[in-house]
Amino acid sequence: MKDDNTPISRKAFMEELRRYQKGSVTRRHFLGVTGLGTAAAVMGGALPGLLPTRARAQDIGDRVVLATWPNYHDAANFDAFTDATGAYTQVNVFGSNEEMLAKIQAGGSGWDVFVPTNYAIPTYVEADLIEPLDLSKIPNFDAAAFEKRFSDAGTIDGVVYGVPKNWGTTGIAFNSDKTGGVVDSWKAFFDGARDKWDGRVMVHDYQLTTIGNALVYHGFSFNSVDPNELAQAEKLLIDVKPHLYAISSDYQPAMRNGDAWLTMCWTGDGKQMNTDMPEIGFALGKEGGEIWSDYYAIPKDAPHKEAAYALINYLLSPEVNAKEALAHGYPVADSRTNALLPEELLNDPIIYPAAEALSPLEFGAAVTLTDPNRAELMARFKSA
């Protein structure tokens, strides 16, 4: 479980700073307590041309509002951003792209930066809700450093609307103490849910992944909108429903406390749970499933656009990005960032799976998100 709020508040920070200046604490203590140690070590080399001077020069205001996903940031980075620019980051957390879209569509979301997934971007463009990015304000984004397949969805008709944050997969997290080993197929997942793991399995409260993986179980495409194939997926889901522990995208608490043994799971959540509880493993469905890429983007009606650019630029600096990855456990497509990550992370099979494990996975399609039949299917599944 992560805390998106300040581990050290501004006030506490100032107090520590004063104590440090008075000499009552050592520099090491000060840097350790304030989290600046790592930040400073990182900034030492990297920051000259970066934020502090730039941002101070042109005042970006005192706040920036970020709409993002759960367990997806290192809170210390936001504090360092505040210290460097004077702008606080307000973090709003959402459960699905549908929810984010709904909030923006209703207008007046008040967000400055949001994090749509690859397949959602075309819809935002079509609805004229997303701002074309002025890349001159994001000097830390170096297109050449990013792996194409994880960065090209941000560009539509030659216009850049999003710059890549992280990529990842939707796999299976399992508590091997209870499941007696690795669960690495959607067949085992859905069949086990109705059998030996009755009442212990969770699926996402998100049509895209839940229906997608039920389709994959039947050997269909994750993105299918074919009525017959959807009907078979629906039959499976409705059949499984009474045996599920919950339909929820907030699965970490139940997994950690042992109530749930198996869940659909995003890469970083799998890594976070695995780090704290080695018995919880993460595997990709061998029949297929989803691979995705998230992007930083700015809504059309963002109230603090300068702050939005500053935050995106800050988070994309390879040093900060590396700290983010260390905290959340999602892979990065930026070769500059990866060069800074420790060897064991780059070789971690959860974060960077072997290429052949990734090959059956599919990127979500725009229509998969917006197809009304899939939305209705999910509603029938939930209300059944």
Partner: protein, 268 residues
């Protein structure tokens, strides 16, 4: 019987006790006690977003309660002793406002305001460079709708039990209608008005579902709590809950004392 009552009180207070207990945990888990510490209180109080959400909630609750109390009391005064179609229409409006589920109010307000803003904003922006959007205003208006209706019911109930002879006597003694109102009627309906204000304030302060839809970019305390629950709970939430509870209790006691005093005065 006594035993049963104890059991019900235990049922009511067990979860609250758990919340308070874990708020003193030294660990990060909100569902496990790991040592004793006050650190989560410090964190909550130092977290600018918690403080801002709290301030938003207090501001919205206060504004909507004041407006609802004033407007509702005015309406109740007008409605007392009134007959005919206007009275019937108003009775119906009050009943509907009290009865319609908050979730429907939230959704209906959201889509209505968004539609209206879409129509109005292009003109407004061209003329004034300024746009309407969801926020404090829509929160106050949506909360006030329900609580104003409660105030109408409360104050009208009180008005109907008033002694008409007193008012007549006051008039006979040459007092102006305004004078009569402030000196005779108002002191007698004050307890109902105060009760209405408190109800209105609490409702607005605690409401999640309407705010969830109409808050726009604002974050009220319940919205903050909901969003925090989703991103994994730390005892910070427990600390916030415990503090809010203590504050409510404090306000309740103060209100009780005030009410008691005003009733005692009314009796004198």
């Amino acid at each position: 019987m006594r035993l049963y009552a104890w059991a019900v009180y235990a049922f009511l207070y067990l979860p609250i006790g758990i919340i308070a207990l874990f708020s003193f945990s030294a660990g990060r888990s909100a569902s496990q006690m790991q040592g004793f510490s006050l650190q989560w209180y410090g964190r909550a109080l130092n977290n600018p977003f918690v403080m801002e959400a709290l301030w938003t909630s207090v501001r919205v609750a206060f504004l909507s309660a004041v407006l609802a109390t004033v407007v509702g009391t005015m309406a109740a005064l007008a409605l007392t002793g009134m007959r005919g179609r206007t009275r019937k229409v108003f009775d119906l409006l009050v009943q509907i406002a009290v009865m319609i589920p908050g979730i429907v109010i939230g959704i209906a307000t959201l889509i209505a305001l968004v539609s209206v803003f879409d129509l109005v904003n292009p003109w407004l922006e061209a003329l004034t460079g300024w746009k309407l959007s969801l926020g404090t205003g829509s929160l106050v208006a949506a909360h006030g709708l329900f609580t104003m209706s409660l105030v109408v019911l409360l104050v009208r109930g009180r008005m109907e039990t008033l002694d008409g002879a007193l008012i007549e006597a006051s008039g006979d003694l040459g007092a102006t209608p305004m004078g009569t109102f402030w000196q005779v009627t108002f002191p007698q309906i004050l307890p109902a008005i105060l009760a209405g204000f408190l109800l209105a304030f609490t409702f607005s302060f605690d409401d999640f579902i309407i705010a969830f839809f109409v808050a726009g970019a604002e974050t009220t305390l319940p919205i903050y709590v909901f969003s925090s629950i989703r991103r994994g709970v730390t005892p910070e939430i427990n600390a916030i809950g415990t503090m809010v509870m203590a504050a409510s209790l404090f306000m309740l006691i103060v209100a009780q004392l005030l009410l008691r005093r005003s009733q005692a005065q009314a009796r004198r």
